[in-house]
């Protein structure tokens, strides 16, 4: 837990550092609201049991702040959206997910269905805009990582529990207007749960307003 608190503190500090230069140089940070949903899978394992895949879905709602001053406070605007430098992004994300029971194994074991909600704090980089090959559509890519806390419940029971997790996501945003982007995201999460581990991964459809 101590380790997790340090991770949370580090990301909070990065967020604040990111905002500082933006304020000094007068470049306004960009605020984003994003919704994401899609299928989710978990490679779940316990000591003494064969790991198995659980499948389900998740939905995420997040707010993010993006500034380019962290990486290039003096670079002139050259990119297609007005910026030529990569941007730093800090994101506060709320998650809602559910995973079904894993298939029964030959010895009768399986992993229980569970569902949960959580909060994550992520930091990462957002590429300058570029034209997608073939279609020529204006797009940008991003890569984010951070930590989160989850409150979960074993489906069909009254048993609730909580766990920490490392979270990350890679995404591709397609700019349909100056304010709105649609995209695809590949969320990844590693959770320590009930003495075992869950490596969760999925695909999310993204809608973003900035």
């Amino acid at each position: 837990m101590k380790q997790f608190s340090r991770v949370g503190f580090a990301f909070s500090a990065i967020l604040l550092l990111g905002l500082g230069p933006a304020a000094k140089s007068g470049a306004a940070p960009i605020f984003e609201v994003e919704a994401q949903a899609g299928p989710l899978f978990s490679l779940t394992g316990l000591p003494g049991m064969t790991p198995a895949i659980q499948s389900g879905w998740d939905a995420k709602l997040s707010v993010a702040i993006e500034t380019r001053d962290v990486f290039a406070p003096t670079i002139a605007a050259t990119g297609e959206d007005g910026f030529g430098a990569p941007a730093f992004s800090g994101r506060l994300q709320a998650d809602l997910f559910t995973l079904g029971q894993s298939p029964i194994q030959s010895d009768g074991n399986s992993y229980r269905a569970w569902q949960g909600m959580g909060l994550s704090l992520l930091g990462g980089i957002h590429s300058p805009s570029f034209r997608l090959p073939l279609a020529g559509i204006l797009a940008s890519a991003r890569l984010e990582a951070g930590g989160g806390l989850r409150a979960t419940k074993y489906t069909g029971t009254g048993l609730v529990s909580a766990n920490p997790a490392i979270v990350g996501q890679a995404g591709l945003d397609i700019h349909v207007s100056s304010k709105v982007a649609l995209g695809i995201s590949l969320p990844l999460e590693f959770a320590w749960k009930s003495g075992g581990t869950a490596l969760m991964f999925g695909v999310g459809a993204v809608i973003q307003y900035r």
């Binding site: 837990m1 899978f41 049991m49 009930s194």
Partner: protein, 318 residues
Amino acid sequence: MKTRKGKLALALVFFPLFFLIASCSLGTASITTTRKALLIGINTYPTSRDLTYPVADANSMQALLVAQGWDTEILTDTQATKSGIQAAIHDFLGGVPSDGTALIYYSGHGTVSNPIAASYQADHGTLSTFSGSIGDAWLVPYDFDTTNWTGGISASDLSTWFEADLLTKNVIVIADSCFSGGFVPISDSADTIGQEYAVDSGGSVYSSSLAALGSFGDLLAANAAAKGTLSPVVISAAGSRESSYDGTPSQGHGVFTYYLLESATKGDANGDGYVTCTEAYTYAAKAVNRAWNNSIGSSMEFYPHISGGLRDLALFKL
């Protein structure tokens, strides 16, 4: 160059998608390992009030499990002494190989180790107004000594016997008896269903879950302390401070066992052809609440419980 980049982009997108879709096709395996069940049902006690349906409960569970390929042994009434039960665990369930499954089903009286609390429950029908410790939950074997209040089977007894005699970690314990919630370890979790449902049921499971989140730090600590060891999956008919009951003549079983048996045909929530312990519990618990708690007086309400942890075990096959 443009085409190669395009192919690379497509590969980056579609490879993970293909992997995910392939993952979905992982199917349910047939259970090929040994499965043995010890069924215990006690109607008559030399020094306690007799019950009506425990032997019928054990017989019906045996018939159901035999039909599904389980190897079974049954102990009823005079056979179900403490030493008889211990010997059956050693001799019969001890033969289950390490990858097999051992099941113990018990239907009969349950009590608590504090005789004053047990007496209070018998007189008042509730422990909600009892002050002081109720002690440990006990299963009551045929030869239980009511005079000296000794000879009960505790969770600690079962744990010791399992450690000594069982090769497998795939163990299911089902207890249809009063105070049986005392046998249910919650492991990494907090149970939002009260141990005395008539008193603790309060609001919905959702509001209870939100209330449990008030102790988020404790839940994180419990999760960090969980070792992930494969402890038995335990299902109890009732909470640790409440009674379970014989059903109606038309049911012909204990209330909980009636719905547990029914779960074998109606409890497969995910449609994979198996009813796991969690699915059977969920079906039976909801049915008890709907059919019994909603029609009976609050002093006789009870709610089943199940142990915590990520692991589940198949119980019935459709």
